[in-house]
């Protein structure tokens, strides 16, 4: 390492690319969730993710990053003023991890690291939305997102990665977010689903995915972006980054197989929704483990996670909570499996940082005994309890004040219309064919009678009229 602070262009490029990849995951999630949802709520579902990108990015820049990665105050949060958004960090020396002995840190500009971690905060919040499709007022969602990010994600990221209680004190392992992201979001999702209650008609009424190619597309984009999420979390370009990358691929591939095999046996048919869900389950489970286990253990983890999550999604019918798009069944369960897996298969032999840097011990099957398994379980428990409790209180408070649950008629009519005054599609069997969409063109979109002219052959009749005062808008 040179004495003068210098940028490591390899590490920096890898982080820049990884950051872009992780950003893409949230639109990918929006498509995944949107396609799984009924058509009448697809836009609201996607809007919860897009609004999370908007809101959380700004919060993260303003104070979130400081709370998570500012110098540790008390093991619970970082100095909120450390990197306040009003300041600017572009000095030669503003490299992440820079210290007296190592003035270059990891050789990555602070803003690059801040942006990378920003995307994690964004998607963790967005993940929660899958539990409350079709029934959550949008204003309530925004308020919840603000509160939960502030009280839960930012601190928890500090506990796990910022020098807080879980990482530094408990020495629990979490390479890229099994506890901080997935268990965290899953626990909050459960609380939200419980407070908001079931969708009208659930489970009696069938609520099947409205656009499965969209689901598969979303899963594909998530898979792609997840390489930045996992392999990027090594923060440097080394063999561990390579290990995290291939483990991510192997566990995900194995989870696809694990899920569809269970479907084949249990439901007599493997499905594309299942393959897509299996991929996500595998990605979730390998997240905490990708840089800490050997490839064969990653394959095994994928098979187990795919199979177990394929069974876990039925729990909601058993226990009667409407976790609409299975955030609990996939992210909470998958996150737990991956975190515990480290207690079994983590080994210093694939990543020296386990012992040397984090002070964690090898997993059970590598002679580490039950120590690490206990730490992993405790870490998961702490996050589960805190996230669930705060989410429950926040949701309950919002419901009692501005109201969180949509009115029944609005829910029945469709949340897209009620909350966003939009509808997802205007297709028809005739769409694009001669005459185009008969309905769209025929005026089924409706008109203000006052505004309706007698249609001349040359000009199609008016299906809709921009209201003047609007237009003047």
């Amino acid at each position: 390492m040179p004495e003068a602070p210098t940028i490591d262009s390899g590490n920096t490029v890898w982080l820049l690319v990884s950051t872009a990849l992780v950003l893409l995951m949230t639109p990918g999630l929006a498509l995944f969730y949107g396609g799984l949802n009924r058509a009448k709520g697809v836009l609201n579902m996607m809007m919860m993710s897009f609004s999370a990108i908007g809101l959380i990015s700004v919060l993260w820049w303003f104070y979130g990053f400081s709370v998570a990665f500012g110098s540790d105050v008390n093991g619970l949060w970082g100095d909120p003023g450390a990197y306040l958004g009003t300041k600017t960090f572009l000095a030669e020396t503003d490299l992440w991890g820079a210290t007296a002995e190592n003035p270059s840190g990891i050789g990555v500009p602070l803003y690059v690291f801040m942006a990378f971690q920003m995307m994690f905060a964004v998607i963790t919040v967005a993940l929660i939305s899958g539990a409350v499709s079709d029934r959550a007022k949008f204003a309530g969602w925004l308020l919840f997102a603000f509160g939960w990010a502030t009280l839960v994600y930012f601190p928890v990221a500090h506990w796990v990665w910022g020098g807080g209680i879980i990482g530094a004190d408990l020495h629990a392992l979490d390479f890229a977010g099994g506890t901080a992201v997935h268990i965290n979001a899953g626990a909050a999702a459960l609380a939200l689903a419980l407070v908001l209650g079931k969708r009208l008609g659930w489970p009696r009424e069938g609520m099947k995915p409205h656009n499965i190619p969209l689901v598969a597309l979303g899963a594909g984009l998530l898979w792609f972006g997840w390489f930045g999420f996992n392999a990027g979390s090594e923060l440097t370009v080394d063999s561990v980054a390579g290990l995290a990358f291939i483990n991510t691929q192997l566990a995900t591939a194995a989870a696809v197989l694990g899920w569809i095999v269970v479907e084949w046996i249990k439901d007599r048919r493997p499905t594309l929704v299942g393959a897509s869900s299996g991929a996500v389950a595998g990605l979730v489970a390998i997240t905490p483990a990708c840089g800490f286990v050997a490839p064969w253990a990653a394959v095994l983890l994928g098979l187990v996670a795919g199979a177990v999550c394929a069974l876990a999604i039925s729990l909601k019918y058993r226990l009667g909570y409407d976790d609409s798009l299975d955030v609990v069944g996939v992210h909470f369960v998958g996150g737990w499996i991956g975190s515990l897996w480290l207690g079994l298969f983590a080994t210093n032999s694939v990543n020296g940082a386990i012992g040397d840097v984090i002070g964690a011990s090898d997993g059970l099957f590598y002679g580490g005994g039950l120590t690490q398994l206990g730490r992993q379980a405790l870490a998961g428990l702490i996050v589960t309890v805190w996230s669930f409790a705060v989410a429950w209180v926040l949701a309950f408070g919002i419901e009692k004040t501005i109201g969180f649950r949509l009115r029944a008629e609005e829910e029945v009519g469709g949340i897209d219309i009620a909350e966003h005054a939009e509808s997802g599609y205007d297709l028809s069997p005739a769409a694009g064919s001669a005459g185009g969409s008969a309905f769209a063109m025929a005026g089924l979109a409706g008109t203000k009678p006052a505004a309706a002219p007698a249609a001349a052959p040359a000009e199609p009749a008016a299906p809709a009229e921009p209201v003047d005062e609007k237009v003047a808008g």
Binding site: V412, G413, I417, A421, E422, S423, F439, L444, A445, G446, T447, K448, P463, A464, E465, P466, V467, K470, V471, G473
Partner: protein, 112 residues
């Protein structure tokens, strides 16, 4: 032979189907329609332009039946389709001169 046609709210289709099932009606044909009437529509907004949607989704149910059963069927449909709110729809009856079952060529009541 008669044809009973009902235009109802989408949600009520299942109740109507069950009610007819209970009467021993063997089959029915349904289709998507859109209705305009007293029930008011809603508004959509895209990039500042507002659209009022006046036509609402409804379901048309058609049942071919023997004259003797017409009243029972009409009552069953009206009963099952009613929510009491504006827009519940209409049920009407028309005369059918002949019915044939394509598969067998059977005619009249046997075709049902």
């Amino acid at each position: 032979m008669k044809l009973v046609t009902a235009v109802i709210k989408p949600y009520q289709l299942d109740a109507v189907k069950e009610a007819l099932h209970a009467l021993g009606v063997a089959g029915l044909t349904v289709s998507e329609v859109q209705g305009y009437g007293r029930q008011k529509g809603h508004t959509e907004v895209y990039r500042g332009a507002e659209y009022t949607v006046e036509f609402l989704p409804k379901i048309r149910v058609e049942v071919l039946t023997d004259e003797l059963d017409v009243d029972k069927i009409v009552d069953a449909v009206v009963g099952a389709a009613r929510t009491g709110k504006i827009g519940d729809g209409k049920v009407w009856v028309t005369a059918v001169e002949e019915v044939v079952r394509v598969r067998t060529g059977e005619r009249g009541l046997d075709a049902l």
